[in-house]
Symmetry: C2
Subunit: 133 residues, 2 copies
DNA sequence: GTTGACTCTCACATTAGTGTTAGGGTTTAG
DNA sequence: CTAAACCCTAACACTAATGTGAGAGTCAAC
């Protein structure tokens, strides 16, 4: 059991409790290759302590609008993979992330503008829905 | 055929061409109850000319982030259903729509802020979680 | 040595809009 | 009459993350 559970590692349930992420999601992250783990000879997953921050980071990236396929391509340092040091790729990855967010904001601003336009048209037109052909 | 195709109506393919919305989507809108049509005795759907603006409006509402279930509950005037006049409900519906968009923008601004914060911190956070058990 | 708490894999459900295909009627033009 | 071009219903696929449950193995404590 000592060689089955490498020292300094935690089980999936433990990781789930500590990170606040469901066991199901963690398994999914691991299956999708955005999270690594050791496997005991009983098949159990054993995660390093760093995985706690990793899964949180993954959920943060998801909340940014990325899917797991995107995240998998990110530099390891950005995913906080253990052993990864700060790397140059992080900056450009974060910059494109920032760009993506800005783009989403722009899209929403455009929708807002269109809505306001529609609203002002409704007030002036009020009943000109008899056109079109 | 003249009584099968009521005058002033168009077929689904025609509506698709004129509105730029796929036949499949139009059928789906009709099935979901956000779009009305007549049925010929051959089972064909016949839409009024106003449906052209209606399906465009539906897609606009979808682009605002609403689903068809939401849209179905909207006042008819907001969905531009034929015969509907301007009504008071439209304004409040549009206002909550506006509020929803503003909320989404706020969320994104927060994410952007968090990202910028992360970017400025990212050197120091790799080894801040050494608490075991 | 048995029970309870874990873990594993596999697989289907959900949400929503849209694409696609199959199999079969209908209309229209030549 | 026939062929092209429409239309119909029904049903499954896709995307993506997560929930849920079955059936089975494992571990720890009493």
């Amino acid at each position: 059991m000592q060689n089955r559970k490498p020292t300094g590692t935690i089980t999936i349930g433990n990781l789930a409790k500590r990170s606040g992420v469901s066991v199901r999601s963690i398994r999914h992250y691991e299956e999708e290759g955005v999270l690594t783990c050791y496997r005991g000879d009983n098949g159990y997953r054993f995660f390093s302590i760093e995985a706690i921050t990793q899964v949180r980071q993954i959920q943060r990236l998801i909340s940014f609008g990325f899917n797991l396929k995107d995240i998998r391509t990110f530099p390891e340092c950005m995913r906080l993979v253990e052993g990864a040091e700060f790397c140059e790729e992080t900056l450009s990855a974060q910059q494109s992330l920032l760009q993506s967010i800005d783009h989403q904001i722009e899209t929403l601003e455009e929708r807002k503008y269109q809505l306001l336009k529609t609203m002002s048209e409704n007030i002036s037109q009020a009943s000109s829905v008899i056109d079109e052909r």
